[in-house]
Symmetry: C2
Subunit: 206 residues, 2 copies
DNA sequence: ATTAACTGTGTACAAGCGTGCACAATATGC
DNA sequence: GCATATTGTGCACGCTTGTACACAGTTAAT
């Protein structure tokens, strides 16, 4: 075998996906031990330290991967060119599909939003804030809401992200419910976001 | 000492408040062991089983206590008689105050919404659903939104609860930030809820 | 008054935990 | 080609974990 860096990267990824596998099985990340993740990655426990300082360190690196997943999602949703009236509907549909396809990352995210260590929680939250910021950019670019003061646009974006994030937690538990339950969920989320943006359209500065 | 049931209830409560103490210290409930909670309650580990089947059982009983806290909150907010235009502002203010005073319960709730076992998660979520249902009752009673179909009122209430619940998670991390940060938070949440209810007022059935 | 039920104690065990340390294998820099 | 740095191994240590079991003290039931 050649190339030491490649080999290292390989076991590093083994460790990270072993951690995700743990989450995918319904376990909480915080209950994952170094020994367990090493066993699943097929290495000896102490080898863990060649890659990560501790489990928190691993979690932060998972957040970085999650960040890539979210950026990819943003790209996909943005290139969707639906009519303005149907843009929410289309985005929700696409989002739900994406959550299903990248399920484990969103599981990890929803766990870490409230669950993990302070630093991990903060890391995930700053990802969401970045998301909200990008949404603000989009709202400006579409040039709807010209009457709204900037601070309120921020609050609007924050509310949007909050709503979607909270809904995601519910969506993730709907895995073994029938497709009609998912349909109803999509419908509900769509209506709720429409409600918010009707509010935004009718907002008069206070 | 007399009265066995009283004594039993006492150590039972010791166990439960020991668990809450653990959460209050910033630890995650799922990382609390039987031995640790027993130690903190001042009993021997095996005594735990005289009261609870396992930690999940204890968690469910904590959810029951949480339920009482939430009902108390609902009562307090309801007897607040602010003008219709200021009702959101007043409710948010009162809510934030209540979260601060019952901090540990809301910490436990926010952990269990996404963190714990499936059964605990479901239990907390059904508490929130109950809350949403009560909100629907209130909205009907105030007889605003006569144009809105019942299903949409449900979605509105759900969105309200989601928003507040998600905001609570943020609020709980604002404990050591200054009072101006809390002020800003209250302002943001108020604006967001106003946004939602402006949307509701302008909703036309689809 | 005696018996039974209950609640908490103490001990014990196997399993799992984090992690320090010496060592083997091997790719890399000179 | 040789010295070095890096990656993974294996072992060891002391600690914590869940829980089984026998037992003690006390209250409740008869």
């Amino acid at each position: 075998m050649k190339n030491r860096q490649e080999r290292k990267l390989l076991t590093r990824q083994s460790l990270m996906s072993a951690a995700l596998q743990w989450v995918e099985e319904g376990q909480h990340f915080s209950s994952l031990s170094i020994r367990e993740v090493a066993k699943r990655a097929g290495v000896v426990p102490t080898a863990f330290y060649r890659h990560f300082k501790d489990m928190d360190d691993l979690a932060l690196n998972l957040v970085d991967e999650l960040s890539l997943v979210l950026r990819q999602l943003m790209r996909e949703v943005r290139q969707e060119r639906a009519s303005p009236t149907r843009i929410i509907e289309a985005s929700v549909q696409q989002y739900c599909q994406y959550v299903a396809s990248q399920r484990v990352f969103f599981l990890f995210m929803s766990q870490s939003m409230t669950g993990g260590t302070t630093v991990v929680r903060q890391a995930v939250r700053s990802e969401l804030q970045y998301f909200a910021k990008e949404l603000v950019v989009d709202l400006r670019r579409l040039d709807l809401l010209p009457n709204m003061e900037p601070a309120m646009v921020d609050h609007l974006a924050d509310l949007t992200i909050s709503t979607v994030a909270f809904a995601t937690v519910q969506l993730l538990d709907l895995v073994d419910s029938g497709p009609q339950a998912r349909q109803a969920f999509e419908y509900k989320l769509t209506r709720q976001l429409q409600l918010i943006y009707i509010g935004a359209a009718n907002w008069r500065r206070a």
